[in-house]
Amino acid sequence: MGNSSTKKFVYVTLLAAMAISINVLESTFIPAMPFGIRFGLANIIALITIEMFGVKEMLIVNAMRVVIGSLLRGTIFGSTFWISLGGVCISSLVIIICKKLLKLPIISTSMLSAIGHSVGQVLMVSFIYTQTSMVAIIPYLLISAIPTGILTGYVSLEANKRLPRIIR
C-alpha cells in the first residue's frame, strides 16, 4: 500500500512537471496565432492522466499546471492567471463529463475540452473587462478547436496505448 501510493504520487508529479514544461515551452516557442488560438499541447497530459489514473489526479495535474506555470512565467495573480484558471476549470469539467458521464472517445473529449478551455477564457475576459462583445470571437475558437483537438487527442491516444497501466 505504502509502496504503491508513493509510486502513484511520483507518477502524478512527473505528469504535472511535463504539463508545466509543455505549457511554458509552447507559449515561448510557438508564436501565438490571431485571436489567441493555440495548440493547447498541455491538454495531452491532462488526457493521459485521466486515462491512467482518474479524475482527482487530473485535477491535481491541471491545477499545478496553471499555478506553477504562471509562477514560472511571473504572471501569477495577474489577469493572465485568472483567465487561464477560468479556462482550465471549464476544460477539466468538460473532460470529466465527457469521460465519466458520456463515455465519449478520447478525440471527441479532447476537442470538447479545447472548446471548454477557450469558452472559459472568453467568459473570464468578458468578466474582467466587462466586454460582452467578446462572445463574437467564439465561432472562430470553436472551429479552431477541431484540428487542435484532433491533434492533442490523437497524441494522447497513441501515448496511452504505449504506457503501461500502472495503478488503478
Binding site: I107, M111, V125, Y129, V135, A136, I138, P139
Partner: protein, 114 residues
C-alpha cells in the same frame, strides 16, 4: 476516428455557425458610433473611425499605437510579449470582435455616442 468523433465535429461546426449568425442577428445597429480604448475599464481615448489618424497611448505593459484607416483600425508597434492584438490586423465595426491585449489590459471597441 470513430463515428462519435465525426458527430462531435459536425455538431461543433453547426454550433459555430449558429453562434456566428446569432451574434450578427442579435447585435443592434449602433448609430453615431465612435471607437474607444479602455485601460483597466477606464476610458483612455475616443477616436473617430472615419478619420485616418495614428493615435499613441500607454498600456499597463508598454507603449502602443493605434492606426485608423479606411474605417478600420489596428494596434501596431506595441510593447507586448505576445503580439496577439497586432496579429489580428485591421478590425472594422462589422467584425464585432473587440481588440483585447491582456498584458496591457487594453480593450479597443466601439460605443454609441449619446
Amino acid at each position: 476516428m470513430k463515428k462519435k468523433d465525426l458527430m462531435v465535429i459536425l455538431s461543433i461546426a453547426v454550433v459555430a455557425i449558429l453562434v456566428f449568425v446569432g451574434v450578427r442577428v442579435f447585435t443592434e445597429e449602433k448609430t453615431n458610433e465612435v471607437g474607444i480604448v479602455y485601460l483597466n475599464n477606464q476610458e483612455v481615448l475616443k477616436f473617430d473611425m472615419n478619420e485616418d489618424y495614428i493615435y499613441e497611448f500607454d498600456g499597463a505593459y508598454g507603449h502602443m499605437k493605434l492606426e485608423v484607416k479606411d474605417e478600420k483600425w489596428r494596434i501596431f508597434e506595441e510593447e507586448c510579449p505576445t503580439h496577439i492584438c497586432s496579429k489580428m490586423g485591421f478590425v472594422g465595426k462589422d467584425d464585432l470582435v473587440p481588440i483585447v491585449c491582456i498584458p496591457n489590459n487594453i480593450t479597443v471597441t466601439t460605443v454609441e455616442l449619446k
